[in-house]
Symmetry: C2
Subunit: 324 residues, 2 copies
Amino acid sequence: MNADLIRAAAVRLDGHVRRTPLLSDPALDRLAGRRVFVKAECLQHTGSFKARGGWAAVSALPAGTRGVLALSSGNHAQGVARAAAAHGLPCTVVMPADAPAAKRAGVEGWGATVVPYDRAREDREALAARIAEARGLVLIPPFDHPEVIAGQGTTGLEIAAQAAEEGVTGGEVLVCCGGGGLSAGIALALEAEAPAFRVRPVEPAGFDDMARSLAAGERLCNAPGGVSLCDAILTPRPGALTFPVLRRLAGPGLAVTDAEALAAMALAFRHLRLVLEPGGAVALAAALFRGAALEGDAVIAVATGGNVDADLFARALARGAPSP
Amino acid sequence: MNADLIRAAAVRLDGHVRRTPLLSDPALDRLAGRRVFVKAECLQHTGSFKARGGWAAVSALPAGTRGVLALSSGNHAQGVARAAAAHGLPCTVVMPADAPAAKRAGVEGWGATVVPYDRAREDREALAARIAEARGLVLIPPFDHPEVIAGQGTTGLEIAAQAAEEGVTGGEVLVCCGGGGLSAGIALALEAEAPAFRVRPVEPAGFDDMARSLAAGERLCNAPGGVSLCDAILTPRPGALTFPVLRRLAGPGLAVTDAEALAAMALAFRHLRLVLEPGGAVALAAALFRGAALEGDAVIAVATGGNVDADLFARALARGAPSP
């Protein structure tokens, strides 16, 4: 994989995904002790950066494709469903039965068919493979796929340009990380366009497989049975394609607690007027609450998604947030 | 007043205010029965469009100005305070003692001095005049001032360009309306740049002085003693400068209830991942719930601000919102 695939994806995505704003607020700068910029991918179509990878993958399919299938707790599914609808392709989504209602509703709003499964008892890969074969569908994986990584990487092209507009030409770019598709894509884009930036993947505590894998130099799994509010980024292990990219380009991973993710949501509500979901807030949480582990006088945090149920959001607000 | 003053303000504002995105979501389109575009001024610096007018007015002050004073429940004060800080001018804000905590904190965050007053017992104009004279400060009015209107009008220049990018070249532009500064500025900008658009001011029920004044052809006052959650846009009567502009250019005004404003906040949370305050949500509420009074197959709603306390926002979410 290299940046050419990302630049080619950017051409296909032009006019179909949003160039999301890079936001900041002095209150967050004071809290973090350095300038903080937030790449607001929660404002992307479908409410997350996954609209990029979905469009990149679907738009690269050969003519004659009968339909697509995605395996996702929601954000990837919405991205694929939106792209499939725009390309006139049927879309089936295999989704955990306990996925947030907002995410299921979002997928169905794009006209996709949802097949729920029991997270604890069913083998989702086997189920997806069975459905794909029976219906002649092409599986679009959530992160370990070159076109998906290329699509997510277009975020990195925008970060390079927008940071330069703010006078920031290097530093750390914190990215909420599940399987590593977005982190790897951004890392490749920045390597080509703005090599003074370095990606740092950020994960929920207990699901820091990427951080531990980067430290160990090999792909490690999370211990089973962990629990986190960050449903969007709970993956068991780094991707086979994403890990080598991040091993070469990324700095050490970071992990934050659910409480820190909720506090970051409350601060983004108050100071940026953005709605973030827990998994979309971990990078901002690291920017605000892991300052000692960061370098430089400016940091960029990618706010990856904002598909959160109202009751959980209200819970984040009720906890309050530390005042800057 | 004409569009030249707005274009001149746009030059001074360049690089100091954000070109906020024009957002949309198919769920809102389904609910409204037409395409709905939201100009997200809640993402503006300080959380509202008032950063534009504040910057325009302060940047137009003559050299030697000793400081500025604003009379405001919060959003205008934040806009003026930010501009004053950037221009190295002291800023004093005369603010109701019961203004939302988020707004007071925002003003103080920009280094301004807050002078609270009792909404029911004190004459705020007399208080402000006394302070301005004693300290040698220039009063920046919230809406009835040519440079303030010009600054707000830069929103209209952006709407014309962004709507064209979406293939929308005419229709109704719904604007949350207090004294009419933003509505008048946008109306003037659109008259010059995209005359097939028409501004419709939107107010809270019980505070529809602009709608009644437009219907009567003269400036009428609101009945005293009304109550609304839309604190940002509770003005007693249309401005002397803004009313003639809107009388010439605007369509009939619209009014929505607090319950409709809260429902619009919940829908913006869910489908746009935006935080709106009640007064910043009335235009979107009209787009969604006053469809029979609107014309055209697309409507633009200006979401003017997002400075809302967490408890009120949670209340809006708890009420839920109608499903599209």
